[in-house]
């Protein structure tokens, strides 16, 4: 028996549309469940405010390289356990940290702010030489009590160019592109 004979064109179309709809719905549901809005998920619920404002730590304790390198760098868990070898609090996150840090391959923190590979940006140039505060480009990250799911400030080419124009810094394409 031929399938074409059984289903009229309208019903076939409806069936096709339904299949597509369900596929889209399934995909969307999966995305929302496992990763809402493409959010960056960190291994530990790290609290910037506690460390920076309350414990008074300098940014360079954990982001070690911005003063004289292109990248700032994110801490690995071994750096955290420099202080957190023994639990200091009753926080379950801290317990998790101590447990994860002793595993064979501890998970790493993931980058939020990321430029495409064709743009050159250097922290040394902007932090050490131009003396810009971190908040200019990273917003109030020091006030966060949990890892933000995405960059707090969108840094796009216009952000770079506007400031460069204002401060009379080069804006020729190959100052930044590579």
């Amino acid at each position: 028996m031929n399938v074409d004979e059984k289903l009229g064109p309208t019903r076939r179309l409806a069936l096709g549309a339904l299949t597509v709809l369900m596929a889209v719905a399934g995909f969307a549901a999966g995305r929302v469940t496992f990763n809402p809005n493409g959010a960056v998920v960190q291994p530990i619920q790290f609290n910037h405010r506690k460390h920076v404002k309350d414990a008074g730590l300098d940014c360079s304790t954990c982001h070690q390289y911005y003063a004289d390198h292109q990248h700032s760098g994110l801490p690995d868990l071994a750096l955290c356990t420099g202080c957190h070898q023994q639990p200091m609090t009753k926080s379950p996150e801290e317990a998790k940290l101590i447990k994860l840090a002793t595993t064979a391959a501890p998970p790493a923190f993931r980058k939020l702010f990321r430029l495409p590979d064709h743009a050159y940006y250097s922290h040394r140039r902007h932090v050490t030489l131009a003396g810009l505060p971190c908040t200019t480009c990273h917003g109030a990250i020091a006030e966060t009590t949990a890892p933000p799911p995405g960059p707090l400030v969108q840094v796009v080419m216009k952000t770079c160019l506007d400031c460069h124009a204002r401060r009379n810094v080069p804006t020729n394409c190959i100052a930044c592109h590579r």
Binding site: D117, H118, S122, R125, T128, N172, C173, I174, H177, R178
Partner: protein
């Protein structure tokens, strides 16, 4: 302001192609493989071309390493409909890959045929991936690419000079091909600075440029005792 240029001494070039290899690895140039080769679509920002005159055994041959000429009057920039390629204030003819729409007008306008189109998704064998240069982007399929005079090195050199609060020196910025040349045939620097070797060499009586009659004013000079 600098005017970057290059001098290539053909009397010193022995055709070893170290410059080609150095350029490839410095600039993450895709390994096209047999497919690209059979289609004549291999990308090579620096190419050592062999010129042979006469008939065997009465031949005269020489090697001519050919990067982008970084013309002062570049024909390629004039035809770009989106200004993805333009001449920088310091004379480097740039190619902004993110801006390029892949129309290939510039490749056709270039009389030196040194602009290359990415016909295929750039292919880097897995074993070479950790060796890709993080200072140079990997070009996507569908854009033109070309020699940049290693302008990514200038970005870092400028920053270093600022950190050490001194002006940029001749040794601070050079290209990968010049670095690698075992006979020192390739010299790079500021053509407008009389203390730079290129400034002196470009005024050498042996100096000439390719297809000078076109009026493109290349900033790559060649030296040769022969005509």
């Amino acid at each position: 302001m600098a005017r970057w240029g290059m001098v290539i001494d053909l009397d010193k070039c022995n055709g070893c192609q170290a410059c080609e290899v150095a350029c490839r690895s410095e600039n993450n140039i895709a390994v096209g493989g047999p497919q690209a080769a059979s289609e004549h679509r291999t990308i090579s920002w620096m190419q050592v071309r062999a010129e042979v005159e006469g008939e065997w055994p009465d031949i005269r041959s020489r090697f001519v390493p050919q990067p982008c000429m970084h013309c002062d009057r570049p024909p390629c920039t004039l035809v770009c409909p989106v200004q993805a390629t333009s001449i920088d204030r310091e004379g480097i003819v740039n190619q902004i890959y993110a801006r390029c729409i892949g129309c290939r007008y510039c490749a056709n306008a270039c009389p030196y045929t040194v602009k290359f189109f990415n016909w295929h998704k750039p292919d880097h064998p897995a074993s070479t991936e950790p060796g890709l240069n993080p200072d140079v982007s990997v070009r996507p399929v569908g854009v033109i690419e070309k020699c940049t005079f290693c302008s990514h090195r200038l970005q870092k050199a400028r920053e270093m000079a600022r950190v050490e609060t001194r002006p940029l020196r001749e040794q601070d910025f050079t290209t990968a091909c010049a670095d690698s040349c075992p006979t020192g045939a390739i010299v790079f620097g500021n053509l407008d600075d009389p203390t730079h070797r290129v400034a002196e060499l470009s005024r050498d009586p042996r100096a000439f440029r390719l297809q000078e009659g076109l009026g493109t004013e290349p900033k790559v000079y060649y030296l040769s005792r022969r005509d």
